[in-house]
Protein backbone atom coordinates (compact mmCIF):
# COMPACT_ATOMS: atom_id res chain seq x y z
CA UNK A 1 0.00 0.00 0.00
CA UNK A 2 1.37 3.41 -0.93
CA UNK A 3 2.58 5.55 1.94
CA UNK A 4 0.17 8.37 2.81
CA UNK A 5 2.26 11.48 2.21
CA UNK A 6 1.37 14.81 0.65
CA UNK A 7 2.79 13.47 -2.60
CA UNK A 8 0.30 10.63 -2.72
CA UNK A 9 -2.76 12.64 -1.70
CA UNK A 10 -5.20 14.21 -4.06
CA UNK A 11 -5.75 17.95 -3.79
CA UNK A 12 -8.60 19.92 -5.24
CA UNK A 13 -7.35 22.08 -8.10
CA UNK A 14 -10.21 23.74 -9.97
CA UNK A 15 -13.44 23.22 -11.82
CA UNK A 16 -13.28 21.42 -15.13
CA UNK A 17 -14.59 24.57 -16.81
CA UNK A 18 -11.38 26.35 -15.85
CA UNK A 19 -9.40 24.01 -18.08
CA UNK A 20 -11.90 23.77 -20.90
CA UNK A 21 -10.22 26.12 -23.37
CA UNK A 22 -7.07 25.29 -25.33
CA UNK A 23 -4.01 26.62 -23.48
CA UNK A 24 -5.96 27.21 -20.25
CA UNK A 25 -3.88 26.34 -17.20
CA UNK A 26 -4.19 26.26 -13.43
CA UNK A 27 -1.22 25.95 -11.07
CA UNK A 28 -0.80 25.02 -7.43
CA UNK A 29 1.79 23.68 -5.04
CA UNK A 30 1.89 20.59 -2.94
CA UNK A 31 4.59 21.07 -0.38
CA UNK A 32 7.58 22.46 -2.26
CA UNK A 33 6.44 21.01 -5.56
CA UNK A 34 4.84 23.36 -8.10
CA UNK A 35 2.22 21.66 -10.27
CA UNK A 36 0.36 22.68 -13.37
CA UNK A 37 -2.68 21.32 -15.18
CA UNK A 38 -2.95 22.52 -18.73
CA UNK A 39 -5.17 22.11 -21.73
CA UNK A 40 -2.93 21.35 -24.69
CA UNK A 41 -4.84 21.10 -27.93
CA UNK A 42 -7.93 19.87 -26.10
CA UNK A 43 -6.14 17.39 -23.86
CA UNK A 44 -5.89 18.25 -20.17
CA UNK A 45 -2.61 17.04 -18.69
CA UNK A 46 -0.67 17.61 -15.47
CA UNK A 47 3.03 17.99 -14.75
CA UNK A 48 5.43 19.35 -12.23
CA UNK A 49 5.45 23.01 -13.19
CA UNK A 50 9.22 23.04 -13.69
CA UNK A 51 11.25 23.13 -16.88
CA UNK A 52 13.55 20.14 -17.29
CA UNK A 53 16.23 22.22 -18.97
CA UNK A 54 17.35 24.61 -16.23
CA UNK A 55 14.61 24.14 -13.64
CA UNK A 56 12.63 27.37 -13.82
CA UNK A 57 8.98 27.37 -12.80
CA UNK A 58 7.10 27.52 -16.09
CA UNK A 59 3.79 29.19 -15.26
CA UNK A 60 4.07 31.77 -12.51
CA UNK A 61 0.40 32.77 -12.44
CA UNK A 62 -2.27 30.90 -10.46
CA UNK A 63 -4.25 30.47 -13.64
CA UNK A 64 -4.44 31.82 -17.14
CA UNK A 65 -4.28 30.98 -20.76
CA UNK A 66 -1.03 30.54 -22.62
CA UNK A 67 1.25 27.85 -24.00
CA UNK A 68 3.29 25.62 -21.74
CA UNK A 69 6.48 27.55 -22.42
CA UNK A 70 9.34 28.24 -20.02
CA UNK A 71 10.05 31.94 -19.53
CA UNK A 72 13.80 31.39 -19.20
CA UNK A 73 14.89 29.95 -22.54
CA UNK A 74 11.57 29.56 -24.31
CA UNK A 75 11.32 25.77 -24.28
CA UNK A 76 7.76 24.68 -24.98
CA UNK A 77 6.21 21.31 -24.31
CA UNK A 78 3.54 19.09 -25.85
CA UNK A 79 0.78 17.09 -24.17
CA UNK A 80 3.23 14.28 -23.39
CA UNK A 81 5.52 16.81 -21.69
CA UNK A 82 8.14 16.41 -24.40
CA UNK A 83 9.95 19.60 -25.42
CA UNK A 84 8.88 20.46 -28.94
CA UNK A 85 9.97 24.06 -29.26
CA UNK A 86 13.67 24.44 -28.44
CA UNK A 87 15.22 27.73 -29.48
CA UNK A 88 18.74 27.19 -30.87
CA UNK A 89 18.34 23.42 -30.92
CA UNK A 90 20.17 23.05 -34.27
CA UNK A 91 23.22 24.89 -32.98
CA UNK A 92 23.26 24.44 -29.23
CA UNK A 93 21.62 21.12 -28.40
CA UNK A 94 20.93 19.05 -31.50
CA UNK A 95 18.51 16.97 -29.46
CA UNK A 96 16.97 14.11 -31.38
CA UNK A 97 13.71 12.38 -30.47
CA UNK A 98 15.37 10.28 -27.77
CA UNK A 99 17.14 13.31 -26.31
CA UNK A 100 13.87 15.21 -26.18
CA UNK A 101 12.09 12.28 -24.59
CA UNK A 102 14.71 12.21 -21.82
CA UNK A 103 13.79 15.81 -21.09
CA UNK A 104 10.04 15.31 -20.84
CA UNK A 105 8.40 17.18 -17.99
CA UNK A 106 7.95 15.19 -14.80
CA UNK A 107 4.34 14.03 -14.89
CA UNK A 108 1.73 14.50 -12.16
CA UNK A 109 -1.71 12.90 -11.83
CA UNK A 110 -5.15 14.29 -12.52
CA UNK A 111 -8.55 12.92 -11.52
CA UNK A 112 -12.11 14.12 -11.83
CA UNK A 113 -14.91 14.01 -9.35
CA UNK A 114 -17.94 15.21 -11.21
CA UNK A 115 -16.90 18.61 -12.48
CA UNK A 116 -14.08 19.00 -9.97
CA UNK A 117 -10.45 18.50 -10.94
CA UNK A 118 -8.03 17.03 -8.44
CA UNK A 119 -4.28 16.81 -8.76
CA UNK A 120 -1.59 14.66 -7.18
CA UNK A 121 2.22 14.78 -7.25
CA UNK A 122 2.72 11.03 -7.41
CA UNK A 123 2.18 9.19 -10.67
CA UNK A 124 1.28 5.98 -8.86
CA UNK A 125 -1.08 5.59 -5.94
CA UNK A 126 -4.66 5.01 -4.93
CA UNK A 127 -7.32 6.61 -7.09
CA UNK A 128 -9.29 9.62 -6.00
CA UNK A 129 -12.41 7.61 -5.31
CA UNK A 130 -10.50 5.10 -3.21
CA UNK A 131 -8.87 7.86 -1.22
CA UNK A 132 -12.05 9.82 -0.74
CA UNK A 133 -14.36 6.90 -0.16
CA UNK A 134 -17.05 5.86 -2.60
CA UNK A 135 -19.87 7.53 -0.71
CA UNK A 136 -18.20 10.92 -0.35
CA UNK A 137 -16.97 10.72 -3.93
CA UNK A 138 -20.48 10.08 -5.24
CA UNK A 139 -22.01 12.86 -3.16
CA UNK A 140 -19.34 15.37 -4.15
CA UNK A 141 -19.67 14.43 -7.81
CA UNK A 142 -23.43 14.93 -7.64
CA UNK A 143 -23.03 18.21 -5.81
CA UNK A 144 -20.48 19.49 -8.30
CA UNK A 145 -22.94 19.01 -11.09
CA UNK A 146 -25.17 21.55 -9.39
CA UNK A 147 -22.42 24.16 -9.34
CA UNK A 148 -22.91 27.05 -11.64
CA UNK A 149 -20.97 26.81 -14.85
CA UNK A 150 -18.83 29.63 -16.07
CA UNK A 151 -20.96 32.29 -17.74
CA UNK A 152 -24.16 30.56 -16.73
CA UNK A 153 -27.07 32.58 -15.40
CA UNK A 154 -28.28 31.42 -12.01
CA UNK A 155 -31.96 30.63 -11.88
CA UNK A 156 -33.71 29.91 -8.66
CA UNK A 157 -34.57 26.28 -8.28
CA UNK A 158 -38.28 26.08 -9.00
CA UNK A 159 -38.68 23.86 -5.95
CA UNK A 160 -38.78 26.90 -3.70
CA UNK A 161 -35.10 27.80 -3.52
CA UNK A 162 -34.42 31.04 -1.73
CA UNK A 163 -32.14 33.68 -3.22
CA UNK A 164 -29.67 33.23 -0.33
CA UNK A 165 -29.29 29.55 -1.18
CA UNK A 166 -28.76 30.32 -4.84
CA UNK A 167 -26.10 32.83 -3.90
CA UNK A 168 -24.40 30.26 -1.72
CA UNK A 169 -24.51 27.82 -4.60
CA UNK A 170 -22.70 30.32 -6.80
CA UNK A 171 -20.07 31.04 -4.17
CA UNK A 172 -19.42 27.41 -3.36
CA UNK A 173 -18.85 26.72 -7.01
CA UNK A 174 -15.89 29.06 -6.85
CA UNK A 175 -14.57 27.63 -3.60
CA UNK A 176 -11.10 28.73 -2.63
CA UNK A 177 -8.63 26.28 -1.20
CA UNK A 178 -5.64 27.27 0.85
CA UNK A 179 -2.59 25.10 0.71
CA UNK A 180 0.46 25.67 2.86
CA UNK A 181 3.51 25.01 0.77
CA UNK A 182 6.19 23.24 2.76
CA UNK A 183 9.89 23.99 2.44
CA UNK A 184 11.95 21.35 0.65
CA UNK A 185 13.86 18.96 2.91
CA UNK A 186 16.80 20.68 4.57
CA UNK A 187 15.60 24.22 3.92
CA UNK A 188 14.71 26.77 6.54
CA UNK A 189 11.03 27.26 7.30
CA UNK A 190 11.09 30.70 5.76
CA UNK A 191 11.67 29.02 2.40
CA UNK A 192 8.03 27.94 2.58
CA UNK A 193 5.47 29.88 0.66
CA UNK A 194 1.93 30.34 1.83
CA UNK A 195 -0.11 29.68 -1.25
CA UNK A 196 -3.65 30.84 -1.57
CA UNK A 197 -5.38 29.21 -4.43
CA UNK A 198 -7.92 31.33 -6.21
CA UNK A 199 -9.95 29.60 -8.85
CA UNK A 200 -9.52 30.59 -12.44
CA UNK A 201 -11.45 33.67 -13.31
CA UNK A 202 -14.21 33.66 -15.85
CA UNK A 203 -12.54 36.59 -17.54
CA UNK A 204 -9.21 34.80 -17.97
CA UNK A 205 -7.55 35.54 -21.26
CA UNK A 206 -8.85 33.39 -24.05
CA UNK A 207 -6.56 32.12 -26.77
CA UNK A 208 -6.15 34.11 -29.92
Amino acid sequence: MAEDTPDTRWFFLCAADDLANPNAFVTTRVGAIPLVAQNIKGEVVAFRNVCTHRFAVIHDAASGCGPLRCPYHGWSFDAAGVPVGLPFNPTDFQLDAEGRRRLALNPASLAMCGRLVFIRVAVEGPGLEAQMGADVFARLAALSNRFTRRGELIDLDPAGERIETANLRAVVAAAALRLEALPPPGAADRFARAWTFHPAHADAETPA
Binding site: P34, F55, D92, L95
Partner: protein, 327 residues
Protein backbone atom coordinates in the same frame (compact mmCIF):
# COMPACT_ATOMS: atom_id res chain seq x y z
CA UNK B 1 24.46 15.99 -30.45
CA UNK B 2 26.05 19.03 -28.79
CA UNK B 3 23.88 18.81 -25.67
CA UNK B 4 25.46 17.35 -22.57
CA UNK B 5 23.43 15.27 -20.12
CA UNK B 6 25.57 15.49 -16.99
CA UNK B 7 26.01 12.47 -14.78
CA UNK B 8 25.31 12.75 -11.08
CA UNK B 9 28.57 13.85 -9.47
CA UNK B 10 29.52 16.15 -12.33
CA UNK B 11 27.51 19.01 -10.88
CA UNK B 12 26.37 20.24 -7.50
CA UNK B 13 23.46 18.27 -6.04
CA UNK B 14 20.25 20.24 -6.30
CA UNK B 15 19.93 20.59 -2.53
CA UNK B 16 23.06 22.77 -2.55
CA UNK B 17 20.76 25.53 -3.72
CA UNK B 18 18.59 25.66 -0.61
CA UNK B 19 19.93 23.78 2.41
CA UNK B 20 21.48 25.37 5.47
CA UNK B 21 24.01 22.54 5.51
CA UNK B 22 25.34 23.36 2.04
CA UNK B 23 25.34 27.06 2.85
CA UNK B 24 27.46 26.43 5.95
CA UNK B 25 29.86 24.33 3.92
CA UNK B 26 30.23 27.06 1.30
CA UNK B 27 30.71 29.63 4.01
CA UNK B 28 33.67 27.71 5.35
CA UNK B 29 35.26 26.29 2.23
CA UNK B 30 34.44 28.83 -0.46
CA UNK B 31 33.94 32.22 1.18
CA UNK B 32 36.25 31.35 4.03
CA UNK B 33 39.14 30.45 1.74
CA UNK B 34 38.93 31.85 -1.80
CA UNK B 35 40.14 35.18 -3.08
CA UNK B 36 37.10 37.45 -3.05
CA UNK B 37 36.53 40.76 -4.77
CA UNK B 38 36.25 43.60 -2.24
CA UNK B 39 35.80 46.64 -4.48
CA UNK B 40 37.71 49.68 -5.73
CA UNK B 41 39.17 52.04 -3.17
CA UNK B 42 37.73 55.51 -2.92
CA UNK B 43 39.35 58.38 -1.05
CA UNK B 44 38.54 56.75 2.28
CA UNK B 45 40.86 53.84 1.52
CA UNK B 46 38.46 51.42 3.21
CA UNK B 47 36.22 48.67 1.85
CA UNK B 48 33.86 46.26 3.52
CA UNK B 49 31.76 43.33 2.41
CA UNK B 50 29.53 40.66 3.87
CA UNK B 51 29.23 37.24 2.29
CA UNK B 52 27.54 34.20 3.78
CA UNK B 53 27.49 35.85 7.17
CA UNK B 54 31.22 36.60 7.10
CA UNK B 55 32.22 40.25 7.37
CA UNK B 56 35.29 41.48 5.56
CA UNK B 57 37.04 44.80 6.13
CA UNK B 58 40.11 45.96 4.22
CA UNK B 59 42.00 49.23 4.27
CA UNK B 60 44.89 51.03 2.68
CA UNK B 61 47.05 53.09 5.01
CA UNK B 62 48.81 56.37 4.20
CA UNK B 63 51.83 54.46 2.89
CA UNK B 64 49.71 52.35 0.58
CA UNK B 65 50.00 49.20 2.68
CA UNK B 66 46.97 46.92 2.50
CA UNK B 67 45.51 45.02 5.42
CA UNK B 68 42.22 43.66 6.66
CA UNK B 69 40.40 41.15 8.74
CA UNK B 70 37.46 38.82 8.53
CA UNK B 71 34.88 38.67 11.28
CA UNK B 72 33.02 35.44 11.81
CA UNK B 73 30.94 36.30 14.84
CA UNK B 74 33.47 36.93 17.57
CA UNK B 75 36.21 35.13 15.69
CA UNK B 76 38.56 37.46 13.84
CA UNK B 77 41.18 36.34 11.35
CA UNK B 78 43.64 38.43 9.36
CA UNK B 79 43.11 38.86 5.65
CA UNK B 80 45.62 38.71 2.87
CA UNK B 81 44.82 41.67 0.63
CA UNK B 82 46.06 42.16 -2.92
CA UNK B 83 45.18 44.15 -5.99
CA UNK B 84 44.76 43.49 -9.65
CA UNK B 85 45.09 46.99 -11.04
CA UNK B 86 42.40 48.95 -9.22
CA UNK B 87 40.45 45.85 -8.22
CA UNK B 88 40.99 44.87 -4.60
CA UNK B 89 40.74 41.23 -3.55
CA UNK B 90 41.14 39.57 -0.17
CA UNK B 91 41.10 36.14 1.39
CA UNK B 92 41.58 34.72 4.82
CA UNK B 93 45.33 34.42 5.29
CA UNK B 94 46.16 30.74 4.83
CA UNK B 95 47.56 28.93 7.86
CA UNK B 96 49.23 25.61 8.44
CA UNK B 97 51.80 23.50 6.68
CA UNK B 98 50.12 23.71 3.28
CA UNK B 99 49.61 27.46 3.31
CA UNK B 100 52.35 27.89 0.70
CA UNK B 101 50.21 25.86 -1.72
CA UNK B 102 47.37 28.37 -1.64
CA UNK B 103 47.17 30.18 -4.99
CA UNK B 104 48.36 33.75 -5.30
CA UNK B 105 45.84 36.29 -6.56
CA UNK B 106 47.42 36.20 -10.01
CA UNK B 107 47.10 32.41 -10.05
CA UNK B 108 43.49 32.63 -8.91
CA UNK B 109 42.66 35.08 -11.70
CA UNK B 110 44.47 33.06 -14.36
CA UNK B 111 44.49 33.74 -17.28
CA UNK B 112 42.67 37.05 -16.84
CA UNK B 113 44.88 38.93 -14.38
CA UNK B 114 46.49 41.04 -17.07
CA UNK B 115 43.23 41.74 -18.88
CA UNK B 116 41.41 42.64 -15.67
CA UNK B 117 44.21 44.97 -14.65
CA UNK B 118 44.01 46.71 -18.03
CA UNK B 119 40.24 47.02 -17.78
CA UNK B 120 40.42 48.27 -14.21
CA UNK B 121 42.29 51.38 -15.37
CA UNK B 122 38.81 52.55 -16.31
CA UNK B 123 37.55 52.35 -12.72
CA UNK B 124 37.32 56.13 -12.49
CA UNK B 125 34.35 58.48 -12.20
CA UNK B 126 32.50 56.04 -9.91
CA UNK B 127 28.75 56.00 -9.57
CA UNK B 128 27.31 55.03 -6.17
CA UNK B 129 27.33 51.25 -5.55
CA UNK B 130 24.06 49.43 -6.16
CA UNK B 131 22.75 46.32 -4.39
CA UNK B 132 19.79 44.41 -5.77
CA UNK B 133 18.32 41.63 -3.61
CA UNK B 134 17.30 38.32 -5.18
CA UNK B 135 15.14 35.71 -3.48
CA UNK B 136 17.42 33.04 -4.87
CA UNK B 137 20.58 31.19 -3.98
CA UNK B 138 23.70 33.05 -5.06
CA UNK B 139 24.67 30.26 -7.45
CA UNK B 140 21.44 30.72 -9.41
CA UNK B 141 22.65 34.26 -10.19
CA UNK B 142 26.08 32.98 -11.18
CA UNK B 143 24.48 30.43 -13.48
CA UNK B 144 22.32 33.15 -14.97
CA UNK B 145 25.22 35.42 -15.73
CA UNK B 146 27.21 32.63 -17.38
CA UNK B 147 24.28 31.62 -19.56
CA UNK B 148 24.93 33.29 -22.87
CA UNK B 149 21.68 32.67 -24.67
CA UNK B 150 18.69 33.82 -22.66
CA UNK B 151 18.81 37.28 -24.27
CA UNK B 152 15.97 36.74 -26.71
CA UNK B 153 13.60 35.40 -24.05
CA UNK B 154 14.53 37.36 -20.92
CA UNK B 155 15.90 40.58 -22.40
CA UNK B 156 14.02 40.95 -25.69
CA UNK B 157 13.86 44.75 -25.49
CA UNK B 158 17.09 45.56 -23.68
CA UNK B 159 20.28 43.58 -24.13
CA UNK B 160 19.07 41.45 -27.03
CA UNK B 161 18.59 44.25 -29.58
CA UNK B 162 21.77 45.94 -28.33
CA UNK B 163 24.01 43.14 -29.59
CA UNK B 164 24.64 42.09 -33.16
CA UNK B 165 21.56 40.46 -34.77
CA UNK B 166 23.73 37.51 -35.72
CA UNK B 167 24.99 37.23 -32.17
CA UNK B 168 25.42 33.48 -32.44
CA UNK B 169 28.16 33.91 -35.01
CA UNK B 170 29.79 36.80 -33.24
CA UNK B 171 29.61 35.60 -29.64
CA UNK B 172 33.04 34.50 -28.46
CA UNK B 173 33.37 32.53 -25.24
CA UNK B 174 36.63 31.50 -23.60
CA UNK B 175 36.67 28.88 -20.87
CA UNK B 176 39.61 28.37 -18.56
CA UNK B 177 38.46 26.10 -15.78
CA UNK B 178 36.75 28.13 -13.09
CA UNK B 179 37.20 31.45 -14.92
CA UNK B 180 35.76 32.45 -18.27
CA UNK B 181 35.02 35.31 -20.61
CA UNK B 182 32.22 36.04 -23.06
CA UNK B 183 32.02 38.88 -25.49
CA UNK B 184 29.26 39.99 -27.83
CA UNK B 185 29.69 42.26 -30.80
CA UNK B 186 27.46 45.29 -30.35
CA UNK B 187 24.74 45.97 -32.89
CA UNK B 188 25.66 48.69 -35.40
CA UNK B 189 23.10 51.03 -33.85
CA UNK B 190 24.45 50.43 -30.35
CA UNK B 191 28.06 50.89 -31.44
CA UNK B 192 26.99 54.09 -33.22
CA UNK B 193 25.35 55.32 -30.02
CA UNK B 194 28.56 54.69 -28.09
CA UNK B 195 30.62 56.40 -30.80
CA UNK B 196 28.49 59.53 -30.46
CA UNK B 197 28.85 59.36 -26.72
CA UNK B 198 32.59 58.95 -27.15
CA UNK B 199 32.75 62.03 -29.37
CA UNK B 200 30.90 64.07 -26.80
CA UNK B 201 32.42 62.72 -23.57
CA UNK B 202 35.86 61.74 -24.88
CA UNK B 203 35.68 58.38 -23.16
CA UNK B 204 38.76 56.77 -21.72
CA UNK B 205 39.11 53.35 -23.32
CA UNK B 206 41.16 50.40 -22.23
CA UNK B 207 40.76 48.95 -25.74
CA UNK B 208 39.09 49.80 -29.03
CA UNK B 209 36.50 47.06 -28.94
CA UNK B 210 32.84 47.35 -29.97
CA UNK B 211 31.94 44.62 -27.48
CA UNK B 212 29.78 43.89 -24.50
CA UNK B 213 32.07 41.67 -22.49
CA UNK B 214 32.08 40.02 -19.15
CA UNK B 215 34.80 38.10 -17.43
CA UNK B 216 33.78 35.73 -14.67
CA UNK B 217 36.16 35.00 -11.81
CA UNK B 218 35.37 32.18 -9.41
CA UNK B 219 33.49 32.15 -7.13
CA UNK B 220 31.28 35.24 -7.37
CA UNK B 221 32.86 38.11 -9.31
CA UNK B 222 32.43 39.32 -12.85
CA UNK B 223 33.55 42.42 -14.64
CA UNK B 224 31.28 43.68 -17.41
CA UNK B 225 32.37 46.27 -19.94
CA UNK B 226 30.87 48.17 -22.85
CA UNK B 227 32.70 49.60 -25.84
CA UNK B 228 36.06 49.17 -24.14
CA UNK B 229 35.13 52.07 -21.89
CA UNK B 230 32.45 51.56 -19.26
CA UNK B 231 33.32 48.96 -16.67
CA UNK B 232 30.93 47.47 -14.10
CA UNK B 233 32.37 45.15 -11.44
CA UNK B 234 29.69 42.81 -10.04
CA UNK B 235 29.77 40.59 -7.00
CA UNK B 236 27.09 38.13 -5.92
CA UNK B 237 26.84 38.11 -2.13
CA UNK B 238 25.18 35.12 -0.48
CA UNK B 239 22.85 36.23 2.30
CA UNK B 240 21.06 32.97 3.11
CA UNK B 241 20.53 29.65 1.31
CA UNK B 242 17.70 31.19 -0.68
CA UNK B 243 18.65 34.84 -0.88
CA UNK B 244 21.49 36.94 -2.19
CA UNK B 245 22.38 40.45 -3.22
CA UNK B 246 23.91 41.42 -6.54
CA UNK B 247 26.26 44.32 -5.86
CA UNK B 248 27.78 46.38 -8.62
CA UNK B 249 29.21 49.76 -9.41
CA UNK B 250 29.32 51.57 -12.73
CA UNK B 251 32.33 53.57 -13.89
CA UNK B 252 31.97 55.90 -16.87
CA UNK B 253 35.55 56.97 -17.53
CA UNK B 254 36.39 60.08 -19.50
CA UNK B 255 39.64 61.67 -20.53
CA UNK B 256 38.40 65.12 -19.57
CA UNK B 257 35.60 66.55 -17.48
CA UNK B 258 36.36 70.23 -17.41
CA UNK B 259 33.31 72.36 -17.94
CA UNK B 260 30.07 72.30 -15.92
CA UNK B 261 28.33 71.33 -19.13
CA UNK B 262 30.60 68.31 -19.59
CA UNK B 263 30.09 67.29 -15.99
CA UNK B 264 26.31 67.66 -16.29
CA UNK B 265 26.27 65.55 -19.44
CA UNK B 266 28.45 62.92 -17.81
CA UNK B 267 26.15 62.86 -14.78
CA UNK B 268 23.00 62.39 -16.84
CA UNK B 269 24.62 59.75 -19.07
CA UNK B 270 25.87 57.79 -16.08
CA UNK B 271 22.41 57.98 -14.48
CA UNK B 272 20.87 56.69 -17.72
CA UNK B 273 23.33 53.78 -17.86
CA UNK B 274 22.72 52.88 -14.22
CA UNK B 275 18.95 52.91 -14.79
CA UNK B 276 19.36 50.75 -17.88
CA UNK B 277 21.51 48.26 -15.99
CA UNK B 278 18.95 48.06 -13.20
CA UNK B 279 16.29 47.40 -15.85
CA UNK B 280 18.27 44.46 -17.24
CA UNK B 281 18.84 42.99 -13.77
CA UNK B 282 15.14 43.38 -13.01
CA UNK B 283 14.53 41.10 -15.98
CA UNK B 284 16.97 38.49 -14.69
CA UNK B 285 15.65 38.52 -11.15
CA UNK B 286 12.29 36.77 -11.85
CA UNK B 287 13.91 33.92 -13.76
CA UNK B 288 16.53 33.38 -11.07
CA UNK B 289 13.75 33.29 -8.50
CA UNK B 290 11.72 30.94 -10.72
CA UNK B 291 14.71 28.57 -10.77
CA UNK B 292 14.97 28.81 -6.99
CA UNK B 293 11.33 27.80 -6.69
CA UNK B 294 11.51 25.10 -9.33
CA UNK B 295 14.73 23.30 -8.54
CA UNK B 296 13.48 21.47 -5.40
CA UNK B 297 10.81 19.77 -7.51
CA UNK B 298 12.91 18.54 -10.41
CA UNK B 299 13.69 14.85 -10.74
CA UNK B 300 16.33 14.97 -13.47
CA UNK B 301 19.76 16.48 -13.99
CA UNK B 302 18.87 18.90 -16.77
CA UNK B 303 20.84 19.37 -19.94
CA UNK B 304 23.56 21.76 -20.94
CA UNK B 305 23.85 23.17 -24.42
CA UNK B 306 26.92 24.27 -26.28
CA UNK B 307 26.79 27.71 -24.67
CA UNK B 308 26.11 26.45 -21.17
CA UNK B 309 29.36 24.62 -20.51
CA UNK B 310 30.61 27.52 -18.40
CA UNK B 311 27.94 26.62 -15.89
CA UNK B 312 29.26 23.10 -15.55
CA UNK B 313 32.78 24.52 -15.23
CA UNK B 314 31.50 26.54 -12.29
CA UNK B 315 29.90 23.46 -10.74
CA UNK B 316 33.14 21.52 -11.16
CA UNK B 317 35.11 24.31 -9.50
CA UNK B 318 32.62 24.41 -6.63
CA UNK B 319 32.84 20.65 -6.15
CA UNK B 320 36.63 20.83 -6.06
CA UNK B 321 36.59 23.74 -3.63
CA UNK B 322 34.08 22.02 -1.36
CA UNK B 323 36.09 18.82 -1.40
CA UNK B 324 39.08 20.64 0.12
CA UNK B 325 40.15 19.50 3.57
CA UNK B 326 38.61 21.31 6.51
CA UNK B 327 40.71 24.19 7.83
Amino acid sequence: MTALFPETGAFLPHHHFWTEEAFAQERERVFGRCWLYMGVFDASGALSAEMAGLRFAVRRDADGRLSGERHDGARVRPLEVDRCGALVFARVAPEGADSHLAPTLAEHLHPYAERLAAMSVNCVNPEPPVGIPFQANWKALVENTMDDFHGSTVHPDTIHPAVHPDWQTHLATERHGANSDSRWVLADGTAGWWAKLDAKLRLAKFADEPFYRHIFIFPNFYLASFYGAVVIPHRVDPVAPDSSVLRWQLFLPTTRLDSPRERAFHRSTAAYLVTSAIGVIDEDRPVCEAVQQGRPAILGNGVYGRRERRILDFHAAMLAQLAGAAA
